[in-house]
């Protein structure tokens, strides 16, 4: 039982963590919580299945195509749902605009793809039981993403520019950084990360339109637990959520597991409203 909790819990936790990173990546350069994050995960599964099972492409081609398509969707989101509302962030209109885009995608996928879950193929054919690839692929994808982002943010000029915009976009603009282009690039990056979550977790989640709202919701919890904008917090929060959820499934079962998850979530937020790894927001007085 313990092995099953660990395998499944870590796999789902890694998927939630990747969606949390997707939220954070979009938030960092725009200060917008884009509720398209879960839909990007759903698109990763659906496009992966489309390219591999219906078009017959090998995984090595299907993965970059999926990530590219999701990156493009990220850019479209920036143009359509984020840029028009940036001037009035305090009115939180982005909630409406990003939710509208998310619903639009959901409806299109439901009509053009299917409302029923569709199969997602085995990618490597490695492992069985608790070592099946469907369990460790999401964890590997999460680890690769975290390492890749660390490298990007610490070792590359573009990455440092991202960090500069995230910390103080006015100062970054004053220094001549192309803030708008960096924001577009961050939405493309977020699209690819979100789709990677759905692609790597496709064998667990299947290519299913209902995964969008599910990931939107459960992917937000690591962000809240780990602290907004904190990727390490999102990873730890995501893995903890996955493990706790799976343990609750074993101990309480069914819908009571969700009750246990949300009870813990509320308790954590009551104790640390800024998240377990976030700093309290400073306010100039």
């Amino acid at each position: 039982m313990l092995a099953s909790i660990l395998a499944s819990g870590l796999a789902m936790g890694a998927i939630y963590a990747l969606i949390g990173i997707t939220y954070n990546t979009m938030f960092a350069t725009s200060r917008v919580m884009s509720f398209t994050a879960g839909q990007l995960g759903m698109l990763g599964g659906v496009l992966g299945s489309l390219f591999m099972l219906r078009w017959g492409l090998p995984p090595v081609l299907a993965l970059p195509l999926t990530l590219a398509a999701a990156a493009l969707f990220g850019v479209v989101t920036e143009f359509v749902a984020v840029r028009p509302v940036l001037k009035s962030l305090e009115q939180h209109l982005y909630v409406l605009s990003t939710l509208a885009v998310a619903l639009l995608v959901q409806q299109v996928v439901a009509i053009e793809w299917s409302t029923e879950p569709q199969p997602f193929p085995r990618l490597l054919g490695i492992g069985s039981g608790v070592w099946d690839e469907k369990y460790w692929l999401p964890v590997a994808a999460c680890a690769a993403t975290v390492l890749g982002l660390e490298y990007l943010y610490r070792r590359t000029l573009v990455g440092r520019a991202f960090v500069a915009v995230a910390e103080d976009n006015y100062a970054a603009r004053a220094l001549g950084l192309p803030e708008r282009n960096l924001r577009i690039a961050s939405y493309a990056l977020a699209g690819a990360v979100g789709a990677l979550a759905g692609f790597a977790g496709g064998q667990l989640l299947l290519a299913f339109v209902a995964n969008g709202p599910l990931l939107n919701f459960y992917g937000f919890i690591p962000v809240a637990l780990g602290g907004l904008g904190n990727n390490r917090g999102a990873v730890i929060g995501g893995l903890a959520l996955g493990l706790f959820q799976q343990a609750a499934n074993f101990l309480a079962g069914g819908i009571f597991a969700s009750v246990a998850v949300f009870s813990l979530f509320i308790v954590v937020l009551l104790a640390a409203p800024q998240g377990l790894f976030g700093a309290p927001a400073a306010r100039r007085v």
Partner: protein, 395 residues
């Protein structure tokens, strides 16, 4: 010209007489308007698409044979998209604008719960295939007739098979977390308990839950000898069957017709994961041990050959659609009237109406017309031309 009181009186009397004579002539020639509330698009569209094939086939056959006493049979379809609010609007439009003579549908219980009272107020003759028991109540809804089994009849068939054929004395009952899943699983569990069968686990699972291992492990540890499932979620069912195989546990699955849905085949890790799975089926649409359908069903299949595709649908959906049209047509033919009282009165007198899907019987106090003994269990992995083989244990 001067209008006198006598002239006016004679004119009115003459006009009334003329209209009175003309009205039956119009009524006898106007088409029979058959309202069809179909969820043709949206998440629960598969059954409606199957029913629709039967409806169109039967209506075309009637019209090709000269109609019903010379009256054309006109199908007026409204797509409710699986949404109760749209079903309400469509029902009101069919009643007040299209002025249909009878309504077939809706085809899912959520929509039917929303429109049944509206049809009752309008005294609209209504036949539907929805399973929720409360939809049929001759006192509250004297206009509503069911031509498919109720959920209780499904439940009886599943329970009989689990206890009498599989000899299970300990069962685990699962439903999804929708309203249907919760109520169906609870009703099923209660019925098992009433027959002194131990329900070792009763769980409602989120249909999108990716891993079913926890729930299946608990069922195995509790000693379940059969798994009873009530959900339409093919993803949930396929995951449960895959988990059963991974656990190396050959416990039989018994339950909802969705266990035989074609989508499940694509989601299974191996085709053999579908063995030892038995779902609700119908004797009229089942192959016997020699691989043959009942004669009347075979006659329908032969008639449908080349005209209606059965490969991506279920035979009972198509057959039930044919029966719905014939029930209305025969009522008009027998009574010579499209008045709602005439149609409802005729249906109330039906004894073993020979439909393709079943032999329907109604009385003024019993509007569940489908024979319970014809609800059987099918082997879920034996689908062929929309029909399934009878599960082991049926003669």
């Amino acid at each position: 010209m001067q209008i006198t009181r006598r002239g006016l009186g004679l004119g009115v009397a003459g006009g009334a007489a003329a209209l009175g004579l003309a009205r039956p002539a119009i009524a006898q020639n106007e088409p029979i308007r058959f309202g069809w509330l179909a969820s043709m698009t949206g998440p629960s569209s598969a059954p409606a698409i199957g029913f629709d094939r039967g409806v169109r086939f039967a209506a075309e056959a009637i019209n090709a044979a000269g109609g019903v006493k010379g009256r054309r049979f006109e199908v007026i379809t409204r797509d409710s998209q699986g949404e109760p609010t749209k079903a309400v609007n469509a029902t009101q439009e069919l009643i007040s604008q299209s002025r249909v003579h009878a309504i077939w549908g809706p085809t899912n219980s959520g929509e039917s719960l929303a429109v049944t009272a509206i049809m009752a107020r309008a005294k609209m003759p209504n036949i539907h295939p929805c399973v929720v028991d409360s939809l049929i109540d001759p006192n509250r809804y004297p206009n509503a007739f069911r031509v498919a089994p109720s959920n209780g009849q499904w439940d009886d068939a599943v329970r009989r098979y689990a206890t009498d054929v599989l000899k299970a004395r300990k069962v685990a009952v699962f439903g999804d977390n929708t309203g249907y899943g919760v109520t169906a699983a609870k009703a099923s569990s209660d019925a098992f308990k009433r027959e002194n069968v131990e329900v070792v686990q009763l769980s409602n699972i989120d249909a999108t839950q990716p891993d079913m291992t926890p729930d299946m492990l608990r069922a195995r540890n509790a000693g379940a000898q059969a798994i009873v499932v009530w959900t339409v979620s093919t993803g949930m069912l396929a995951r449960m069957l895959n988990t059963r195989a991974q656990m190396g546990w050959d416990v039989p699955f018994v339950g909802h017709p969705a266990l035989s849905a074609g989508d499940i085949g694509g989601l299974l890790e191996k085709p053999e994961n579908w063995r030892n799975v038995f779902c609700v089926g119908y004797r009229s649409c089942s192959y016997d041990s020699t691989g043959k359908l009942p004669a009347r069903s075979q006659e329908l299949v032969d008639r449908l050959q080349g005209k209606v595709n059965l490969n991506d649908s279920l035979l009972w959906w198509v057959a039930c659609g044919v029966d719905a049209v014939n029930l209305v047509a025969k009522a008009v033919e027998a009574t010579g009237s499209t008045a709602s009282e005439a149609i409802i009165g005729h249906w109330n007198s039906l004894r073993k109406f020979p439909g393709y899907y079943g032999e329907y019987s109604f009385t003024p106090t019993q509007h569940n017309g489908y024979p319970g003994e014809d609800v059987v269990m099918s082997a879920a992995n034996t689908g062929r031309n929309g029909a399934f083989a009878l599960a082991p244990g049926y003669g």
